[in-house]
Assembly symmetry: C2
Homo-oligomer: 188 residues x 2
DNA sequence: TGTACATCAGTGAACGCGCGTTCACTGATGTAC
DNA sequence: TGTACATCAGTGAACGCGCGTTCACTGATGTAC
């Protein structure tokens, strides 16, 4: 059942989109090729016409997840507004469209090199973006250090909140408390 | 091949110890019952005499990992020394004996309820320990917020460092930078 | 203390299942004339 | 513009493999006498 070049390109995108969402929701090991192809509206046999292996899709999915987020990044008014959105109950509960750093971090060490490279790239540009939005900009050496601590606290608090979310009040509190302490100590 | 009650109890401990180490190193999905039993010096068939299911061992392993860490916690001179050890290259590279919060956080949401309960319990007492070691103690309301932000930054920075450790200088820098910024802003 | 036997911790083959991947096939696409 | 046919995106059965779990069996333990 051959299909027009345009349709095939759409399918390719649909597979990556499914990977970017499902891998964030359930981890690289938690979703099979069959399920991803089903989500893309195809059968599993067509997968290897689009990607050489599951690893290749993982790499493409990590890249896609970071690209999706860059849009959110650029539409934020300022750093404070972005941190507010990041350390929110909404972000905690929307894993599938959430920050790839928070979801993938602990699995990346076990993935193939291309996946790791794609991830490090994403973290690096995220750090730069934060540093450039601090008072004084990215060239101020102290801001590099501050950016690392702020990103750590952002990622850590969302992970802490997600992993304890069976106890909602406790989980909510972690987000609120961390956000307040960062505002108080870092002024953002 | 029956075995003395003492030997059997030792086997039980060995299985939990293997779970606590291997699950931290490779994730709950990344290690099978066969490999855990092999690490404990037994064959896989004996597993279900000790645990009702793999989930049951996961719960026991999470508890064990937190208990192991509590020893490290109590032997720390003060909060600063503990944060130094936590945000270190050594802790980044020793996943199997490292903090369970950093390794398990992103997988806990997909685990069975008993596993989640065990984890939340561990996070809660970790937060209390930090708050009680801040100037003013755990009763000072502001310290609860500060503890949440500090734990978030600790967990986040170790995860960031681990997930980017294919680029060692970059990974090292994240730890150093985060540690310096926390010292500067939180005074610990 | 010594013997007879019920208990039960550990063994290893076997189960059904879902995984990543392969491949012979189908039939619409798009090119050559 | 119309026909003939090579191409190739997608299908679905099949592959070997490792997973969690079960179970008939073994033989040392530990109890009853």
């Amino acid at each position: 059942v051959k299909v027009t070049k345009e349709k095939s390109a759409e399918h390719h995108e649909a597979i990556i989109a499914a990977g970017a969402k499902l891998y964030r929701e359930r981890g690289f090991d938690g979703v099979g090729v069959v399920e991803i192809m089903k989500a893309a509206g195809l059968t599993h046999g067509a997968f290897y016409g689009h990607f050489a292996s599951k690893d290749a899709l993982c790499a493409a999915s990590v890249k896609r997840a970071f690209d999706d987020r860059r849009v959110a990044l650029n539409s934020a008014h300022d750093l404070s507004a972005y941190i507010d959105a990041y350390m929110s109950v909404t972000h905690r509960d929307k894993v599938g469209t959430g920050c790839p750093v928070a979801t993938f971090a602990s699995q990346i060490g076990r993935q193939a090199r291309p996946v790791q490279k794609q991830f490090t790239q994403g973290v690096s540009s995220f750090l730069e973006w934060i540093a450039s939005h601090l008072a004084g900009g990215a060239t101020k050496p102290q801001n590099t250090r501050t950016a690392a601590a702020i990103l750590s606290a952002m990622v850590g608090s969302v992970l802490l909140a997600r992993s304890t979310s069976s106890d909602k009040p406790f989980s909510d509190q972690i987000l609120t408390d961390s956000r307040a302490a960062i505002a108080a100590k870092f002024g953002v």
